[in-house]
C-alpha cells in the first residue's frame, strides 16, 4: 500500500512509509513533516505543541488517567488520557520526570489541563497531515 501510494508523491517528497511517518509525528511533534522535507511546517508544529504543553505544565495542569466511573467520567478520563498521550515525547518525558500533576482545584490548574489536552489534539492534526503527505494525498 505504501509503495503504491508513494508512486503519486511529488518529486520534492522523499518516499517514507506512512506508518513510520505517523510514528515519528506522534513521538516528536512536527517530526513527520521534517522526515518528509517540510522543515518549516515541522518547526511551526513543534513550537506550537511545545508552547501549549509547556504552558500546561507551568500552570500545573493535571494529566488525565484512564479511570472508570459513570459514563461521563469514563469519557472525560479516557479521552483526556488519549489526548495527553498524543503529545508523544513531551508526555512521556514529563511523566517519567515526575511532572504529572494531580487534579487540584483552581482555575489556573484547570486552564493548564486544557492546554495539555490541546497540545495532544493539535499533534493529532499534525499526524494526520503528515500521514496524508506521505501517502501522496496532499503536498
Amino acid at each position: 500500500m505504501a509503495q503504491a501510494s508513494s508512486q503519486t508523491l511529488p518529486a520534492s517528497t522523499p518516499a517514507r512509509s506512512p506508518y513510520l511517518v505517523l510514528f515519528v509525528s506522534w513521538l516528536i511533534p512536527g517530526g513527520g513533516h521534517f522526515l518528509l522535507g517540510r522543515r518549516g511546517r515541522g518547526a511551526l508544529i513543534f513550537l506550537a505543541v511545545l508552547l501549549s504543553f509547556a504552558l500546561g505544565l507551568m500552570m500545573r495542569g493535571a494529566m488525565f488517567q484512564p479511570k472508570s466511573g459513570d459514563l461521563l467520567t469514563t469519557l472525560i478520563q479516557y479521552g483526556g488520557f488519549v489526548a495527553d498521550l498524543a503529545s508523544g515525547l513531551f508526555y512521556l518525558l514529563s511523566v517519567w520526570l515526575g511532572y504529572s500533576q494531580e487534579d487540584v482545584a483552581g482555575h489556573s490548574h484547570d486552564y493548564g489541563a486544557k492546554f495539555l489536552v490541546a497540545a495532544g489534539l493539535l499533534n493529532i492534526l499534525a499526524m494526520v497531515d503528515a500521514w496524508e503527505i506521505s501517502a501522496g494525498k496532499k503536498d
Binding site: L51, L122, A126
Partner: protein, 58 residues
C-alpha cells in the same frame, strides 16, 4: 504560573491558529491567510461571548 482567562484564551488561539494554518491549504500564502483568519475568528468569538455574558449578567 497564573494567567487570566483572557491571556489563556489568547495563547490558546495563537497555538491553535498556527497548527490549523499549517495543516490546511496548499500554498504558504493560503496557510498564512487561513491562520490569521482562524486567529481573528477566535478573537471575535472571545470578545463576542464576553459581551453577551456581560449583558446577561447585567
Amino acid at each position: 504560573m497564573k494567567l487570566s482567562h483572557f491571556e489563556a484564551a489568547l495563547l490558546f488561539a495563537l497555538v491553535s491558529s498556527v497548527v490549523l494554518g499549517v495543516v490546511t491549504k496548499k500554498t504558504d500564502r493560503e496557510r498564512v491567510r487561513y491562520g490569521l483568519y482562524c486567529f481573528g475568528s477566535f478573537m471575535a468569538a472571545l470578545f463576542g461571548i464576553a459581551w453577551v455574558m456581560h449583558f446577561l449578567h447585567g
